[in-house]
Amino acid sequence: MATVTLNSLYKNYGETEVVHGIDLEVGHQEFVVLVGPSGCGKSTTLRMVAGLEDITRGEIWIDDTCVNELEPQHRDIAMVFQDYALYPHMSVFQNMAFSLQYRGHDKSDIRRRVLAAADILNISELLERRPKQLSGGQRQRVAMGRAIVRDPKVFLFDEPLSNLDAKLRVSMRGEIKKLHRRVATTSIYVTHDQVEAMTLADRIVIMNAGNIEQIGTPDEVYSKPASVFVAGFVGSPTMNLLPAELTAADDGLAVRLDNDIALRIPETKRQRYANYVGQPVVFGLRPENILWSPNGAAQNDALIRRTAEEIEPLGSDTLVFFSIGGREVVGRLPPNSVRRIGETVSVLPEMDAMQLFDPASGKAI
């Protein structure tokens, strides 16, 4: 068993508080990704778990042990660094064996563990090389190998793929996922790349300005963002967010986006929003929930007709930008649905997928 628990964790640098009392439980063998923009406190949190940063207030527990006062080497964790942190004066074998030598393992055990880890990571033929003789991807594997040989309770990853080029990043992402399935160790992974977070995580922790905005599965944070921040952070392109007003319609509720656009709220959601009638809200809809409807009946009051202001063909689909109420909206439409800027776009919003947020608190309603 290896669980990690953060209880009201705070971090101050002098007078500045950068982590504002976060709570998190990472389950046994779970892969949790901390994601957020630069400066949100995700790396600081990870470094506090590693013991590389002092904790200002709060507690960190690994299993049944409060590790606040434990030195990094006594926490039974292994960390993969952004810049790999391989010892340049040692061979790959020595890099991987180094920590074991200081933990009292005998030579045969060290050799067995290093060879096993090298086999898992496909780096057996590189064991005699020095780090400078390796490519970025190979170095990353060695860094992971160095963590694996220890067989620690917890793996910590601090943006391990950000130094790799885009193609290698995708393939290493897959490798890390496979590796976690194979060694099944509790892992905390920090990244600013939300695609990396979505593809790797069992659960995602979205952080903003030292707070946790939302904790959930990739599907949850994507389809049910807890706040405007999460909605605007997760997804590429991110969710369309428009100021709107919730109004009472003849037989239900509608959300008014513009003078000529009032979209009916589905029956299933009416009860949830009933208390907000007459109040301003933020309307959110993912680009893929804007459906191309070239033959939509003109009398359908949900049909939106606008002029395409920008087109980004992606091959599998086309991003089409248009305006509603002076705000830019993007729809993910079929390829070649709109060919030229200036063409009229007819779309239908998929209202079952819409989200409403409180403009004051930014939280989902």
């Binding site: 590693a50 590389l52 990094p72 080497q73 292994a78 660094f81």
Partner: protein, 275 residues
Amino acid sequence: MASRSMNNYRRWPIHTTLIIVCTLMLIPFYWVIKTSLTGENLFSYPPAILPQNPNPYYFVDAWYFVPFVRFFANSVIVAGLAITANLILNALAGYALTRHFAGKRLVVLVLLSSMMIPFHATIIPAYLITRELGLLNTHLGLALPAFSHVVLIFVFKASFDAVPNSLIEAARLDGLSEWRIIYKIMLPLAKPAVATNIILSFIWSWNDFLWPLMIIRDVDMQTLPLGLSTFQSYFEDTTGSLYAFSVMVLAPGLLVFLLAQKEFIRGLTSGASKG
């Protein structure tokens, strides 16, 4: 190929200047070696450019007329102590200066300020302290003031600063103590700084004259520079033997420098450019 010869062609004024400067600097060395083999008077006119009838007689003379081996051994012991102490103390101090601690700026300021005080200004207190410690006329007393040079602390600091912090953190996670981080990670990555420390502490200790002159009473405890002055006082016509003695004093320093010059130059220029 064409562009390389073009480059060489364009560089000829620099090369010519450098050759002339090098020659001018090497002339005294050449003259010392030539005179050590010929015993030719410094004021003889016209001076012989090439050695006339070279022979090793003056080296034999210098070797037997003063306890050269004893002087040499003393110099080696003192230099060995100075090098060891400089490596240990300067590496520790240099590493400490790469860490964050309260009052670091003040410590740096004090260290840098102390570089502006010449040793001659503190030589009397140094003598009194050495006497109080009972180290007058001892190898340890000879080496003690040379145990750490501020400039060499900063050579280590510059080299350690270039080591990424993540390496130190990785070592910490791997279970290394701060001592082992210095020994196993920092020093192997700071070979130029180690070479610089070895060479400079060796040369400064090897060539030191004033401090040994102050604290040494017995001929048996004299180092080579003191021995050189003793030798001068023994003989009237000393030209050949004196120069031979000088060559023997110079040779180990040159040897150490030649062996480590590549790392030494990298050490002196570390931090001067990225990477």
